[in-house]
Symmetry: C2
Subunit: 408 residues, 2 copies
């Protein structure tokens, strides 16, 4: 208790896990932001799953809202692949009717900006080629809970992320079938199949995202995830998968794939998902939220209000490299003062997946702040501090992701 209270005030304020710890110990008084977050979390835990995601494992999830559902830090498991019923959900708009997944092969997608523009049914796409790509799917705002500026948007901690295997047709195979990209086209612009409310300029609301054509080497149009037809909750019948790119770029229920000179005029592309300075609005000249950076976090022990037995322990977590594989992982049991190299376990699922890691060590009684720090194959090292930005995107700070653990 005393040791726990000695943990820096800043950490406790910023860590949802820490707040839970305090709650378990009798609560921490008088800190407005912290209390708000803790209450938000408690309230969220009680919310039911929305109908389109009712098949998910509610015990493993925090339902922030019908369109924002997070995996608990303690529920990541250790197999490297996230079970579908534990995969987070985040929709920018309400999903279309469940009806669209009843006959997935009949769904059509329009392909434009190519030699021979045309539409394809999913059944037709299935004849063109097949690839299965393990990827980390992660919301751009995962880790937003730790931004002290309290950006608008869901206060995700670690659970707006999962590692899953998507199967579908390689974009390259699709391009072969349509005579390649038209000259001068620099982006692939994909449009979601959400219903548009009448009377609104679609550009203000539609989910249409552009990615540079250089990102398409391993991209697919996916109809399957983890071996089953893509559920509506994850973008079925058909979803764009841009390996290494944040969630929003993987357009769901995709109805149009256009190769374009410029980025989409939609608000979600022009000013949304931009790396804006604190206090500034999003603008086209700012970096778009595309590639994910190197990142890792501890997943066990991860329950600050639960006591771990002193002695030998296997500290676990997940590490991702972003656009290339994680190649090294270090763990600290004293808040980042000292680091030990941990080892990867389980299968190497390629550059866009994460890997489970383990540090086999002994912990003495007391409170330990567990941290992890990943390095990727390009040599990028997970930084200590987050990069501040107005909407709380791309948090990969190892300090923010620390978790205090009681050992007795």
């Amino acid at each position: 208790m005393e040791q726990l209270q000695n943990i820096s005030r800043r950490r406790m304020l910023a860590t949802t896990g820490g707040l839970v710890a305090f709650a378990g110990l009798g609560g921490v008084p008088g800190i407005a932001g912290a209390q708000k977050a803790a209450q938000g979390d408690a309230a969220a835990a009680a919310k039911p799953l929305p109908a389109y995601a009712a098949w998910k494992d509610s015990d493993s999830l925090i339902v922030h809202s019908a369109n924002t559902i997070e995996l608990r830090r303690s529920a990541f498991g250790s197999g490297g692949i996230t079970p579908l019923n534990r995969l987070f959900v985040r929709n920018n708009l309400n999903p279309p009717s469940e009806e669209i997944t009843k006959d997935p092969d009949a769904w059509t997608v329009e392909v434009q900006g190519v030699g021979k523009p045309r539409s394809f049914t999913v059944a037709e796409l299935k004849t063109l080629g097949l690839a299965s790509v393990p990827v980390v799917l992660q919301c751009s705002g995962n880790g937003r809970a730790w931004f002290p500026s309290e950006p608008s948007g869901t206060k995700w901690t670690v659970g707006a992320a999962g590692c899953v295997i998507f199967s579908g047709v390689p974009v390259k195979a699709l391009l072969e079938a349509v005579g390649g990209i038209e000259d001068g086209m620099a982006f692939m612009t994909s449009t979601g199949g959400e219903e548009m409310p009448a009377g609104l300029d679609p550009n203000t609301i539609m989910v249409e995202r552009s990615v540079p054509v250089s990102a398409l080497d391993d991209a697919i149009l996916a109809w399957e995830v983890n071996g089953v037809p893509l559920p509506l909750a994850h973008g079925g019948p058909l979803r764009v998968i841009i390996p290494g790119y944040t969630g929003v770029n993987n357009v769901k229920y995709v109805k149009k794939v256009a190769f374009t000179k410029d980025q989409s005029p939609a608000k979600i592309q022009q000013t949304g998902y931009r790396f804006a300075p604190l206090g500034a609005k999003g603008a086209p000249e700012q970096a778009s939220i595309w590639e994910m950076p190197v990142k890792s976090w501890i997943t066990y022990p991860a329950e600050p209000d639960e006591t771990v037995k002193a002695g030998k322990v296997q500290i676990r977590g997940v590490a991702m490299g972003g656009m290339t594989e994680a190649s090294k992982i270090e763990v600290s049991v004293n808040g980042g003062k000292d680091w030990q190299e941990a080892h990867f376990v389980g299968p190497d699922l390629g550059p866009y997946a994460w890997r489970e890691f383990v540090l086999s060590t002994t912990l003495e009684a007391g409170t330990h702040e567990l941290a992890s720090r990943a390095t990727n194959a390009k040599g990028d090292v997970q930084p200590e501090e987050r990069l501040e930005n107005n909407r709380g995107y791309l948090n990969n700070s190892w300090r923010d992701h620390m978790v205090p653990v009681k050992v007795a």
Copy 2:
């Protein structure tokens, strides 16, 4: 229709898929064995899932009995990992009460035949080490449906198999904690936690299997599968996993792991799961059913009563090497007359997993007999013919696994 009828009578008799095709085309008259199998299949389809497996996807499964549940050939998916709710089930005895999985960490296992014999709770095992191993889990009798001798036992076609990721403590790490294997012990003998009926000699019924200690390099005691706590249906709270060995060797609800000089005296070890000549009974001097051989089968197109559109098609399947990875896969679209090399897709999950393969080709109208033939890294080639044996074990004949497909 005419072409389909021209397919060798032997094939149609032996192939459940073929029987379904005939049924769809009006049925094939007067063949007792075939009708029996077809009826068995239809009846099985109507059986409900048993309570302990009620969470499974019934549409994807054939319930032969409460303890024998098979994955449909058309439901393998293409991600390489079998979703847990599609994984086959096969129990030698009824599973214990669901209660044993309520507090999995409290389950205990006795370790004997080691330097310091003792028992461990699962919670204690979790402190010793962690490995995650993708493995093909396959019933020894998978493919039994094609043995013309109609051996006793479930008439599995391809679906008593799946590829999943088990997580648990390496047997090596466990051995380190108990001072290693006692001198002279040649086998690891594991005992299942099923309840024994009173008044019976346990040896006649208990599930106790021995494997040579040479098989333990990558063996684990698993408490997790595909990222979730091991369900009762698959041996939770704790299961022995011997990568590369057939299902029966992966003892469920394991309550004792003993290193022994000799193989278990249990019937299931002494005379059960032996490679007995046709007409002979199982006996200790025959080979025990341990290692799995190289094998593959087509999973799409796999519905003989469904018509595939002529033209470009992606023929899919799975290929496993047994004790080492599948390194080559060939596909024939004319019943094994000609072979084309197909390519692997998706992640390489290591030596004990299978890999998804694809042949991108065009099929003209007519009926095609699709076959696949795998080669493993040791150079073993999947044989044309099954090795006859009295109980119908280890069928890896490519000819038996062919599937006729209508193209129009």
